[in-house]
């Protein structure tokens, strides 16, 4: 095993996007893939409510993340790297980043896509100047990525962790975003094997009122009640985030907010998501809510959407019903 892969494997680093994919395997796949050129893409399009850890990295440790990217270019012999930045991040940090990049083959790209731009193949479409929609998989980006070439797509936090690994400073910690009612919106760097409860307590965020939380993202994340917090974030799909809700938060407003978010962010490619989110909202806004129909649509979203965005629409709603409040 070569040195880089060995380091990543030993660190047991898991990608910090929502794919939960071992970073070492991904790097190895790109390394082994055949292509005239190779590319590195750093995804900084974070668009999920309650998730702002990439912003934290840009603010505090962009140098470490850039080191990670540089190493990827060198390791893969890539033609260049592209940093795909959310519009406001681009405005705010571009000059700082350019200084750090210097003469390295790293380009900055201002995002065009919104939330779906975070899906790695949609991001590639966006970089190639096309409509921002996910691609059919397989093939996956490590084989056929940017301009059809093998491409490593990692999230900014992942590159930050890689930078730490290279410096020998990685301590199996993860960036966790805290937000919600009675909680200061803040990023904490915490051991990844802590339970959610411990994370809340150690950061002084354990609410004094009765509450429930949403972990893994403020839209697509899973809803848990306050007695279900003995698990780690690794057990749960998604991003490093914990959003706290007052127990009195009404279902109507919650569900409406989630559905509105997904409807606004759907790319429009596939029927369950494009039509489904539209109809979910229509049902919620109608005088008599047809919950049977609502659940049929959630079923189609979960089981037949083209990409992860559509598939995740039901997750907050169904886990809320299951863990917090049965649907009326």
């Amino acid at each position: 095993m070569d040195k880089t892969i060995e380091k990543l494997t030993r660190a047991d680093l898991i990608g910090r996007g929502c794919g939960n994919f071992p970073t070492a395997s991904k790097w190895q796949m790109v390394k082994e893939a055949k292509g005239a050129k190779k590319y590195v893409v750093c995804n900084v399009s974070e668009g999920e409510p309650g998730v702002f850890k990439d912003g934290w990295v840009l603010q505090n440790h962009p140098d470490i993340a850039i080191e990670g990217i540089k190493h990827a270019i060198k390791y893969l012999g890539a033609k260049k790297a592209v940093v795909y930045l959310r519009q406001d991040y681009y405005q705010k940090y571009q000059s700082k980043l350019r200084k750090l990049i210097g003469k390295n083959k790293i380009e900055l790209f201002k995002e065009a896509g919104g939330y779906i731009g975070g899906e790695e193949t949609a991001l590639l479409e966006s970089l190639e100047g096309r409509r921002v929609e996910p691609r059919l998989k397989p093939p996956y980006p490590p084989q056929v990525g940017l301009y059809g070439q093998p491409t490593l797509v990692n999230n900014l936090e992942t590159f930050y962790e890689i930078g730490l690994i290279l410096r020998g400073k990685y301590e199996k910690k993860r960036l966790i975003c805290f937000s919600g009612q009675g909680v200061k919106s803040q990023v904490h760097e915490l051991p990844e094997n802590w339970t959610i409860e411990k994370m809340l307590k150690e950061t002084g965020n354990w609410p004094k009122f009765s509450f429930f939380v949403q972990v893994g993202g403020g839209a697509a994340g899973t809803v848990l009640n306050s007695k279900q917090l003995q698990q780690t974030l690794k057990d749960i799909h998604g991003l490093g985030s914990i959003v706290v809700y007052h127990a009195s938060e009404g279902p109507k407003k919650l569900i409406l907010n989630w559905v509105r978010f997904f409807k606004a962010e759907s790319c429009g490619k596939c029927v369950p998501c494009r039509e489904g989110t539209y109809r979910l909202l229509e049902i919620l806004n109608s005088k008599k809510t047809d919950w049977q129909l609502f659940e049929d649509i959630l079923f189609a979203l979960e089981n037949s959407s083209f990409c992860g965005l559509g598939m995740s629409v039901p997750r907050p709603i169904l886990t809320y019903w299951k863990n917090v409040k049965k649907r009326s």
Partner: protein, 568 residues
């Protein structure tokens, strides 16, 4: 290798998708899938369940050895039904005015999968209807966002559709980019799964003319229609039903039924002469019988307009023959005659309306019906096509050569012209009149033949995407053919925008094959041997030599951009 579908062992090939492996074994509904196009997997109705309980789309999932799939589980039914119902609500039902009525996937699936067409409120009522170049009607209120039209028009290198907005605001719309203009080839029509795109309908006017006792209504039937219209009535693709078609047209009320193949013989005879003349001058000639190609050149390669053959297309030549020669012979006022072409083509509607094709201030073809439209009229008139007793085309414009029969397929026009150019104009003895090098359905074919000791280069191409590649090479001086045949539709008119759906590679091959059989079986295989044609020239043209050129030739003009107009 094998997979199991609903418990039944089925053999499959490694590169196949589940949908392909299931073909002919179990029906899986599809909307966005088209074998001519890339797999997009956006409609999500072709769902099947795998053994692990996961639903996947059959169109996009490759088979694996030993894979087990189930096509009708509770899970499949639940997701498929709701997806279908949401699709129905994207499509405003206008069935009574739609020519796909009763031949429509949405209606079929609603019945078969017990989806309610009205489960949700139609959400696209307020969208627009556009007319492209006066010929293509695009109705956004029926569009289900499958993107087929966008892709097929890109493949044609026309790029006339765009997509804007996201989520439920996604919308397919005509491009605003002034660099592009629709050629009216109609490929988007045959690739739209839900009839959101149609040719400008002429059948209501034809029905009215047929009822009008004061009018003489004359039909002419294009070469490829006889091998494709059967599909509309349940025949296997490629079944030749010429006689039944003539009968059914008579039954619809046409006073005379002539053969566009006669027109094709005129076109061949005239064009071969032109080619022969240009050869002497070293000037490239490209064919003019495909109006979408002519429009494509006019708009995209105006500097080559002078290379388009001046010879009129078969439908126009026959139209002229009807309104001059035939009218005079029968002592009918040509203004009382309505010529109706039955065409595989939508662009022919555009051609028929071109002012520069008028003669004596009259349109020579009044209406153009597509293969689909005429079948629709027959169904409306409750004509049982399969019970028709075959009849012959009427005289004097019913006879034709084998060379005309093959006009319907890519390479046919060139082959016909070569036969006449070599045999008649060059006086060269031909060992064989079969030009096999330029036959077949591949995109671009090349050949070199000797004419009077001189090497003549020929390129035959179909599909505007292929044609563009060839044109760019010619423009760059990297290709320099003497003769260039282009058919806008891939494969030629057998795959025209007015033909029955579905269409795919096998169906195209089946439609093409019998045209060569008809050629082979013909008594006369060269246009100039057609006795009817000889008679026409002797009895009419030779008596009016001053009219000859204007009757059968035109000049093409550089087109302005037609663009798209909102119609509602």
């Amino acid at each position: 290798m094998y997979i199991k579908i609903n418990g039944k062992k089925v053999s499959a090939k490694p590169e196949q998708t589940i949908l392909e492996a299931a073909h002919g074994i179990v029906a899986i509904p599809t909307l966005c899938h088209h074998p001519d196009l890339k797999v997009k997997a956006n409609c999500r109705v072709c769902l099947v369940e795998l053994k692990n309980g996961k639903l996947v789309t059959a169109c996009s999932t490759k088979v694996k050895d030993g894979m087990e799939v189930f096509t009708d589980t509770e899970k499949v039914k639940r997701a498929r039904k709701i997806n279908l119902e949401m699709i129905f609500a994207e499509h405003e039902e206008k069935c009574p005015e739609c020519i796909w009525d009763k031949n429509c996937s949405l209606q079929d699936y609603a019945k078969k999968y017990q989806g309610k067409i009205t489960r949700f409120k139609d959400r696209k009522k307020n969208r627009n209807i556009f007319g492209f170049s006066n010929t293509i009607l695009f109705d956004q209120t029926k569009c289900i966002d499958c993107n087929n039209c966008i892709e097929v028009c890109h493949k044609q290198e026309v790029h006339f559709y765009d997509k804007a907005g996201k989520g439920a605001d996604s919308i397919v719309l005509p491009t605003k980019n002034k660099k592009y203009d629709c050629t009216t080839c109609g490929q988007c029509i045959t690739h739209c799964p839900v009839g959101a795109i149609q040719g400008n309908p002429h059948w209501p006017e034809v029905e009215a003319s047929l009822k009008d006792k004061k009018k003489i209504v004359v039909a002419q039937v294009a070469p490829s229609v006889r091998a494709s219209i059967g599909e509309e009535f349940g025949y296997e693709p490629g079944t030749v039903v010429t006689g039944e078609l003539v009968s059914a047209l008579k039954k619809l009320g046409f006073d005379y039924v002539f053969d566009t193949n006669f027109g094709a013989d005129i076109t061949t005879f005239e064009e071969a002469g032109e080619c022969f003349e240009c050869l002497g001058k070293g000037k490239m000639v490209t064919t003019s019988c495909c109006p979408a190609w002519v429009k494509f050149v006019e708009f995209n390669y105006p500097e080559f307009v002078g290379n388009i053959s001046t010879t009129k297309s078969p439908q126009q030549c026959l139209g002229v023959a009807v309104k001059t020669y035939f009218a005079e012979k029968m002592k009918i006022d040509p203004r009382k005659i309505k010529v109706v072409s039955i065409m595989p083509c939508v662009a022919k509607k555009f051609e028929a309306d071109r002012p520069e094709l008028e003669y004596n201030n009259m349109k020579m073809v009044d209406y153009v019906l597509t293969t689909r439209e005429v079948a629709h009229m027959m169904r409306r008139a409750k004509i049982d096509f399969t019970k028709m007793k075959p009849q012959k085309f009427d005289d004097p414009l019913g006879q034709s050569s084998g060379a005309a029969a093959i006009y319907g397929v890519s390479g046919g026009v060139m082959e016909s012209a070569l036969r006449t150019a070599l045999d008649y104009y060059a006086g060269q003895k031909l060992k064989s009149i079969d030009f096999k090098q330029i036959r077949g359905l591949e995109g671009t074919k090349k050949a070199e033949i000797m004419v009077k000791g001189k090497k003549v280069k020929i390129i035959v191409t179909s599909g505007l995407g292929n044609a563009k590649k060839v044109m760019d090479l010619i423009k760059a001086g990297k290709e320099n053919p003497h003769f260039l045949e282009v058919m806008a539709c891939p494969g030629g008119c057998i795959n025209g925008g007015g033909q029955p759906v579905p269409t795919n590679a096998q169906i195209r091959a089946k439609r093409a094959a019998p045209l060569y059989v008809l050629d082979k079986k013909s008594k006369f295989r060269k246009a100039h041997d057609n006795p009817g044609l000889k008679k026409l020239y002797k009895e009419y043209i030779d008596k009016h030599p001053d009219l000859h050129h204007e009757m059968f030739h035109t000049s093409n003009y550089r087109q302005k951009r037609w663009g798209a107009r909102r119609l509602n």
